[in-house]
Amino acid sequence: MVNNKGKSIAVGRETYGKRKRKGAVGGAADVGDNSRRRQRKNPGVLQFFEDTAAVDDDDDEESDSSDDDDAGFNDEDFMQEEVAAQLKVNNEQGKSYNLPFFPKEEVIDEVEFGKLMEERYKDGSNFVSYVGDDYESKRMVDSNYHMAYHKDPIVWKVKCMVGRERHSAFCLMQKFVDLQSFGTKLQIISAFSIDHIKGFIYIEADKQADVNEACKGLSGIYTSRMAPVPQNEVSHLFSTRIKYNEVSVGTWAYVKSGKYKGDLAQVVAVNNARKRATVKLIPRIDLQALAAKFMTACCPVIFTILMFLVERSRATEWERIFLRVDENVKLSSLNGKIFLLNGMLAGILQVDRHSTVGQIIRMTCLDGGGVSLKKNATAAPRLISSSELDEFRPLIQYRRDRETGQAFEILDGMMLKDGYLYKRVSIDSLNCWGVVPSEEELLKFMPSDRNESADLEWLSQLYGEKKKKRTVPMDKGGSKGECSSGSSLGNSFELFELVCFGRKDFGLIVSMEKDDQYKILKEGPEGPAVVPVERRMLKAGPFDMKFTALDQHMKIISVNDTVRVLEGPTKDRQGIVRQIYRGIIFLYDENETENGGYFCTKSQLCEKIKISADACDGKGGGSGASGFEELVSSPKSPLSPKKPWQAKEFNVKRGDKDGMFSVGQTLRIRVGPLKGYLCRVLAIRYSEITVKLDSQQKVLTVKGEHLAEVRGKSFATSTSDDPGSDSFKPFDLLGTEGSAGGWMNGAGTSAEGDRWNAGGSSGERSPVKIQEEDSAWECKATANQNSSWGAAVADGKNEDCWNKAAVEVIGSDSGASGSWGKSVVPSGDPTSSLHASHDNWGNAKGPADPSKDASSEWGKNNDANGNQDSCKKSDPWDKGMNTVGNSNGWGAATAEKNQLDSWGKGKDMVEDGANRMEDLHGAIKVEGLHGIKKISTASRMEDLLRASKMEDLHGASRMEDLLGASRMEDLLGASRMEDLLGVSRMEDLLRASKMEDLHGVSKMEDPHGASKMESLHGASRMEDLLGASNMEDLPWGKQDGGSSWGKQDGGSSWGKQDGGSSWGKQDGESSWGKQDGGLGNQDGESSWGKQDGGSYHGKQDGGSSWGKQDDQGKSWEKPQGFDGGRGSGGRWGRGGGRGGRDQSGTGRSFGRGQSSGWEKEGPGNNWASNGDARKSWNAGSRASFDDHGTDWKSGTSQAGGNPSNRDNKSSDWSASLKTSQDKSCGWNKESAADKVNEHKDQGDGCNNRKTSDGGSATGWGQCAGLKEVNDSSRDQDSKWGKNSNWNSGSSDAGRNQDSNWGKKSNWNSGSSDAGGNQDSNWGKKSSWNSGSGDAGGNQDSTWGKKS
């Protein structure tokens, strides 16, 4: 209805009015009644709606007549009506509708208004009806008004994006026009935005639907938030006073916004028509930034960009920025790249053809370099001296400003004059209301005010220097700044003060005589002269002077420098510079008595001899000299222009300490959450220093000792020292006073500071990373490790040990690297050569040195555990570890007992089964941090072995552990404990029934159950292993499983198993199987049987291997597990490597102790023959594992060059396996092993990655994560999750594993629940295996299912 009325309605309004006038009496009565009724019903806020409703009623009536009156419509009339209505309302009701009326008043001029009123009243109440009227119900005619009113479209207030109000209005118009061209008419009538109403636009339309339609497709308009505006309020919207501050010239105002927000400004010109005023401000100009901007200076920044490390190449500030790019980055891809530093600085990388990989390339900062970094930071207000502007002379334009009629120096769009900034601002942005500047504030403006001649160069007083009184400005008369001396207050001048007199003369007061006569030392045409001057003639010197000058060698002379006069009347004299002004230096020679020891000369005639020590203290003067300069005169500091003496005062106050800071100085926060941030000194109160963090816009007060000077001295120094350097010069010039240097320094400093900060924080680390990926890795690893370890520790009872280990590790090297170190290193090594897993291990171990400690610690731990023997062994282990570390991990291990070699081959290992075990463990340990524990375990293993359990290694250990609960505990516990996780886990798990810890727990607890446990463990291990294996599937499977297990358990069997098929495949599985088996043996073979379930393994790896395991299991059962082991080994051998047997020869070596076992381990042999075994394994793994195999292969291990690598790996793996054994004892180890494996894998991956760089790093990190996981099975889960991540990051295999692990963890938990579960789990595993075989991913999934 209403909508369609279109024009008629609008017009109708008038009509209504008229009609109503008539009808007011009669015809409209009905309507009136209606509306009134409604209003009565719903008085108040809802009136609008009521009105709207009323419209409907009226429509019919109205529509007819409206057309007739179209022509009669008149804007003015309309206005009148409105006004009248409002007036009426006001007058009559005087309630809440005052506003509408007044605004109106503004819009309409008096005459008009009067007319309107008249007319209005003529019509009387008809027009006056208003919402409020209802209450009174006196006026019948209300309806008229309403009716007319209702004819108008509704104004809808629609939410829109803040800042897009105008834009939205335009868009709507545009849309309207566009649609119109299509013949579609947008049904909205108008849309307006009101400047002072943010976030809303108003749309006039008849229906809300029209608004919706119109706004459809326009972003920034939220039609979901729309409300009609009561008509009576609409006029308010337009009634806003178009009023602005009336400002007059000379008034004081505060700037409301922008850079000068809150600053006092003096209005110097007003253009009311344009609502603009020209104000005078104390400039907040960062000349450095300006310089940088115009000089396209490059900035030194230390910052890590993406993967690059930005490195400062030199100690120069604006020179350039260098990036050391990682080797793998194609430089060409960087050329022209824009980088944001600190989110602000844009720099463009310039790579020329000379740039080569790993080389340094240059980065040009686009805008102001470091300075621009501080864009956010507002420069402190201070007057800009003309000398400071010298640098910019070429850029400065001189123009006469129309508004003010004055001539200004235009620099970068800024109008400068007399050191002040003149700015044209909107009057609205000034707050003139009740501005009563403080004296201090006024003081700042005084100099300029007093300057009569615009040509005076002025400057000076320190802005914001409240304490000093010297602010009294002197009128220099024509001279620029004259005396540097601080002025005395009032008319009194101090001795040796620099003063101005006459037109351009200046000099130093050397004596004061009666009658206000002063004797002034000045540089006359023929050298120094002393002239008498009346006091009234004296004027204080300029506050802002350049406190530097250039000597004959173009070196900067600053106050407090010692100079010698080379020429002129004072030739050969030398003295300390006390004042510098306009090329004249006033020297003090204590040996002289004349003129108080002062004399003067031209700076060019002098030679700077040395920088006075005071310089540092002296603010300005010292600037050039030392790093202090920065401190002293930070260009940005408001106080920077300080005079030297002031500085001195400061210094004195502070005691001239070296560490003293000065206002404006840029410092770095040394402690606390803000550590590393740069700040500027705002104020100093004793030891408390108020600083401002430019980067955060914070002002804090901190203790002096928490601040450190920014390294930048070098800059400063260089600056000062090399004034000549081009780069500096500009700055020098810029520099205030003597601080050219200071400036430079300051600038440099500040800039650097930021950068440093930015860069610094990240930088420090980054460098390391950069240096060597390995290191980087290490770092990462460390971090991870630490945490992980910590976690592990926490979890584990052995926490201490772990902690220590961790700590130590950490302590050593990059900690992690250290601790992980081993593992990590391995990885690193792997990178270098996958094969050399040994090496890697060795490396790992090497890094391990720390680890050694750890190992030793571990050993200790073991001891602690009560397994002294083991401990001892552990020691050996440790040694072994160490050795291993040094040599090949395994090699080392073997070395210890020869086994290493054997390990390498496996045979040696035979010799000392235990040793081997140990070795293995050791190896394992080494590999995994666990390694250590493993060692202990190893020791235990030995014990075990000797106990005959050892043979089965894990099995044994576990068995023992498990079986001999004590052992379990001890071993496991101990070993595990030692083994880190292992122990803790074991115990924890076991005892805690953490099953999750899987094995440990389960095994521990029930041997049978244990078996289950084992199985669980197995499972868990499996998982772990798997996980690990997955992670490292390859390596583990092969090596670990192979050797380590084999060795451990029956060493061979396990080794084979684990290493072999099971491990290799899913290490864990086979190993587990064995373990379980082991457990089973002890506990019950059943466990093995379960393991057989292990067939999974078989399936996976080589189920065969498992089968073997089973055998082994038997063997295990036999205790001699070895034999069994062998048997199993055979199987294993199968699994592990067919070669295994051949290897088994090697295995035999292992065998010795477990030789048989080893033989069985044959796989181990195989391992030894790795190639073969591995092959076999590989094959096995592949075949059985398929996926695994592939994965593995794909995985690092494979990368290793399966055979050789495997060997190595195998050894490694063995280690890992051992770990797994440890696991038995402590899954930890396994986990560790796993971890190791993972690491290895990762390592491989890393290697690969390393080649690729970043990848490896991540890989490590992940590794770490994995480790952590291992540490606490629970943790593992999560960690595993990480792992998965990691994996993703790393090689595929790794990923698979990870995911697997994650699942595993779950699974573990499940297993922990019940052996049965385990079985099931195993079953799952099998499935998993198959899955794994297919693909790591699959496995995972399967696992997940399993779990």
Partner: protein, 116 residues
């Protein structure tokens, strides 16, 4: 609404100007190129100098009027008889006198802004 809409500003920056008489808002370039749709007698498109005199960058608020005659707001703002387009709610400057005279000569009503 019979009349064709005025040009719509093509940008939203400082180049926006409002006609001092009719308060039509366009960019400076638009004024220079096609003058003011409501105030052709200013001949801004012929005398580019006049653009500066006849328009102002200082205005307050924007209203896009699709249907001036129907729009209550437009009527209130006394732009109900202008062509559809984007207008400002208020300008604070008055037309220079010479141009006011021109309006007078052209018998065009000019209502100076009310200043408070």
């Amino acid at each position: 609404m019979g009349s064709a809409p005025a040009q719509i500003p093509t940008s939203f920056g400082h180049e926006l100007r409002a006609c001092l008489r009719c308060r039509l808002v366009k960019t400076y370039d638009q004024f220079r190129e096609s003058g003011c749709e409501n105030c052709p007698f200013f001949k801004m498109d012929e005398d580019h100098e006049r653009v500066v005199d006849c328009t102002t960058p200082n205005f307050n608020g924007i209203i896009s009027v699709m249907d001036p005659t129907r729009s209550w707001a437009a009527r209130w703002l006394r732009i109900g008889r202008f062509v559809p387009g984007c207008y400002t709610l208020a300008v604070s400057e008055a037309l220079p006198e010479d141009l006011q005279n021109l309006c007078e000569d052209e018998r065009i009503q000019y209502v100076p802004p009310k200043r408070v």
